[in-house]
Amino acid sequence: MKYLDEYRDEKIARGIVTEIARRVTRPWVLMEICGGQTHTLMRYGIDEMLPAGIELVHGPGCPVCVTSLETIDKAIDIASRPGVTLISYGDMLRVPGSRTDLFHVKAYGGDVRVVYSPTEALKFARANPGRRVVFFAVGFETTAPANAMAVWQAKRQGLTNFSMLASHVLVPPAIRALLGSPRNRVQGFIGPGHVCTVMGYREYEDLVREFRVPIVVGGFEPVDLLEAILMLVTQLEEGRVAVENQYVRSVTYEGNPLARKALAEVFEVCDRKWRGIGGIPESGLGIREEYAAFDADRIFGTEAITADEPADCISAEVLQGLKKPTDCSAFGTRCTPENPLGAPMVSSEGACAAYYHYRRHAMVAKGRN
C-alpha cells in the first residue's frame, strides 16, 4: 500500500489546489457520484481546501443508502424465516427497514451473517446443505460481476440451497435522472472510478453529448479527487464538455470485458426504485429468467412486498445534491448514526454520516463566529 502515499501528499495536494484557484473565474457546482469519494472528501476535509467558488454536492453513489426500503423489508422478511441463513455485506445490517433492521433480526434469533465476498456465501451453502442460504446482493456495477459469478457457479455446481436477493443499481441512469430534473444544479460530475473499472466509460459519452456536461472519471484518494476537480474546472472554464479519465491506473475505455460478460450472463437491466429518489427506469440489474431458480425474490415470494418512504427526511434532496446534510433540521439531533432517520446517515459512505463523523466541529466553529 506504499504506492498510495503520493496520493495523500500534502505538497502535491496543495499544488493542485493552487492550480484550481488559478483557473477558476466563477462559481461551479460539481458532484461526486460515488459514496467512497464522498467519504474521502469529508475524511480529508478536501472541501475546506478548495477555493470558495467550487461547491461540491454529494451524489447518490452509496449503495447502502439507495437500496430501497422495500428491498430491506424483503431481506428482513426472508432472514426471519426458520431454516434460512441470510448473508450480506456488513453495513447492510444497520440499515433501517420499515419496522426493524437486520441487526435486530439477528438479535432475536435470525441467522444473519457478514462476508466480504459472495463466494464465501457459496462456500457456506455447500457446507450447510440443510440451510437455505440467501445472499443479499446490493451495490453498483462494481459488486455485480462477483455476485453474477456466484449465481453462475451455484447453477454449475447444482446447488439447490443457494439463492440471491439481488438489488443492483446502475450509475448512468441515475446521472440521467439527475440531469433531467428541472431542479438540477450540477455542472460537472466526478465519475465513479470503481464502477468504470468494470464498465469502462463509453456509456458516459452519451450523457456528455445529450446534456452538455463534463464528466471526469475519478479515483478515491485525496490527490485523485483534487486532480479530477482540476480537470472538470479546466473543461468548464474553457467551455469544453468531454469524458476524461483521471483514474488511468485502474480505468480503461472498455472496462473489464470478463467482468462485463459475467454480469450480462446472469443479470438483465430492469426498472429499479432508489431510496430517496424513487423509481428510475432501466436503472437496475435483476436476475435473468434462466437463473430464476436462484432468485430469492421469486423463491420466497417476496415480490409483493412494497414500502413507502416517510416525508420527514430530506434524504431525497441530499441524494440529488439539492441540499447539504446540514440543511436538515434533524441533522445531528433527531437523526444520528445511532438513530438514523434516513439511509444516508447509516453507512459510513452516506453523505449525512460522513458529515456527522468528520465535520461537526467545523460547523460548531462556524456557528460560533
Binding site: M1, L4, R8, D9, E10, A13, R14, G36, M42, R43, Y44, G45, I46, E48, M49, P63, Y89, G90, D91, M92, L93, V95, P96, G97, S98, T100, D101, F103, H104, K106, A107, V114, V115, Y116, E120, F124, V138, G139, F140, T142, H194, P222, D308, E309, P310, C313, R334, C335, E338, N339, P340, L341, G342, S347, S348, E349, H357, R359, R360, H361
Partner: protein, 353 residues
C-alpha cells in the same frame, strides 16, 4: 408510554427504530452503544465513588496500601490466532488493566466457562499459554473456577480473569487528569490485534502477515515512571481502538485532543487491510499498546524511556491536549485539514465497495 389513539399515525419508517430492547452485538463494541448500556442499566444499580471513576481498574485503600483491582472476560473467536490465543489475552489483558492504573500486578484469578464438546487438547493448549504468559508477566494465578455449559450455550471457551496489584505511593492516574498543553504519547503501531483477528474470521479470511500485539505492558509503565512521574493518565486502547480511549479521556477530563495523523504509526499490512475492508485503524483493537497523557515538560524524557523498552520501540508523540473543543478528539490530516475522530456507535462494519 402515552396510550396510542387510533389517530396516532404509526411512525412511518425508515425510523427512528426504537433503541434496542434486547442486547445487540454493538453493545459490546466499546463505542457509544456500550457507553449507553453502562450508563442506563449497569451503573445505576451499583453506584459508588470507586466504580464511578470508570477507569480500567478500581483503586481502593486497604490497611494503608492502595490496591488496584480489575476483571475482564475474553470471548475471542477464533481461540487461537497468530501472536497468541485466548489464554495469552486473558493474562495480558488483566495485567494491562492493572498497569494502566500504575499498579504493579501481583495475583490473578482464572475462571473458565467450557462448552460441552470442547476438545481437551484445546484446553491444554490454552492452559499452557496462560502458564507462559503469567510467568513472563511475573504474576501468579492464585484462585480459579471452572463451569461447563451444554453444547450450544457457549462458544467453546470463555475465560475470565481478575487481578490485584499494588499502586506505589504518589501514583495517581485517571482519565480525568488530562490538562490543556499536555502531550499524547502512543507506544507503537495501532490496529495489529484487530486486523489479525479479522483476517482469521470465518467468512472473512484474507492473507495477512500481521500478528496480534498481545503483551503485558507493566514493565514499560514502570520504566516510564522511572523516567518521570509526570504521567496524568494511561490507557490501553483495546476494544474500540485508539479513538475510543482518547474520546473517553477527552470527555472525562473536559478537554479537547488534537492528533497529528502523520505521526500515528500504522503497519503497511494493517493500513492495506483497512483500505480493503473500509475500516479506520483508529478504531481497530490493540492488545499490547498504551496511550499516555503526560505533562509536556516531561514528554521527551518519557518518549525516550518508552523507545528504550522493547514494547515501546515505535513510540511517538501523536498529539496534544487543548482547551479548544472540549470533549472532542480531532485529527490534522496529512493534507493539513482537520476532522473529527468520533466515537463510533457500534462496531465498525466492513463496507460494500
Amino acid at each position: 408510554m402515552p396510550r396510542q389513539s387510533h389517530l396516532d399515525v404509526a411512525l412511518s419508517c425508515p425510523a427512528p427504530i426504537a433503541p434496542a430492547e434486547s442486547v445487540l452485538l454493538g453493545h459490546g463494541s466499546g463505542g457509544r452503544m456500550s457507553a449507553d448500556l453502562l450508563r442506563n442499566i449497569l451503573l445505576p444499580a451499583l453506584q459508588n465513588p470507586v466504580l464511578d471513576r470508570l477507569d480500567d481498574q478500581a483503586i481502593v485503600e486497604v490497611g494503608g496500601s492502595r490496591i488496584a483491582f480489575t476483571t475482564d472476560s475474553f470471548v475471542v473467536k477464533p481461540l487461537f490466532f497468530p501472536g497468541g490465543d485466548v489464554g495469552t489475552l486473558a493474562v495480558n489483558g488483566t495485567v494491562n488493566d492493572l498497569a494502566m492504573g500504575g499498579a504493579e500486578p501481583l495475583f490473578l484469578s482464572l475462571a473458565l466457562i467450557l462448552e460441552e464438546g470442547l476438545p481437551l487438547d484445546t484446553l491444554r493448549r490454552v492452559m499452557e499459554s496462560i502458564r507462559v504468559a503469567a510467568a513472563l508477566a511475573r504474576v501468579v494465578v492464585v484462585t480459579g473456577d471452572t463451569k461447563v455449559v451444554e453444547k450450544g450455550s457457549g462458544d467453546g471457551l470463555f475465560v475470565n480473569t481478575s487481578g490485584i496489584g499494588l499502586v506505589p505511593p504518589g501514583v495517581r492516574l485517571s482519565a480525568d487528569q488530562a490538562r490543556p498543553g499536555d502531550c499524547v504519547l502512543l507506544s507503537g503501531t495501532i490496529g495489529d490485534h484487530g486486523i489479525t483477528i479479522l483476517s482469521q474470521r470465518e467468512g472473512l479470511e484474507f492473507e495477512s502477515s500481521v500478528a496480534s500485539d498481545t503483551a503485558a505492558l507493566h514493565t514499560l509503565v514502570s520504566d516510564m515512571f522511572l523516567a518521570s512521574p509526570a504521567i496524568r493518565c494511561l490507557r490501553d486502547p483495546t476494544r474500540g481502538g485508539l479513538s475510543s480511549a482518547l474520546n473517553e479521556i477527552a470527555v472525562r477530563s473536559g478537554v479537547g485532543i488534537e492528533l497529528e495523523e502523520a505521526t500515528i504509526p500504522v503497519r503497511d499490512e494493517v493500513q492495506g487491510a483497512c483500505e480493503m475492508l473500509g475500516l479506520d485503524p483508529l478504531y481497530v483493537a490493540n492488545e499490547g499498546k498504551l496511550v499516555a497523557i503526560v505533562d509536556s515538560a516531561s514528554a521527551d524524557a518519557l518518549l525516550e524511556a518508552m523507545q528504550r523498552h522493547p514494547l515501546g520501540r515505535d513510540a511517538r508523540i501523536i498529539g496534544k491536549v487543548t482547551g479548544a473543543h472540549p470533549a472532542m478528539v480531532t485529527l490534522r490530516t496529512r493534507l493539513g485539514t482537520s476532522r473529527i475522530v468520533d466515537l463510533l456507535s457500534g462496531d465498525q462494519l466492513p463496507r460494500i465497495c
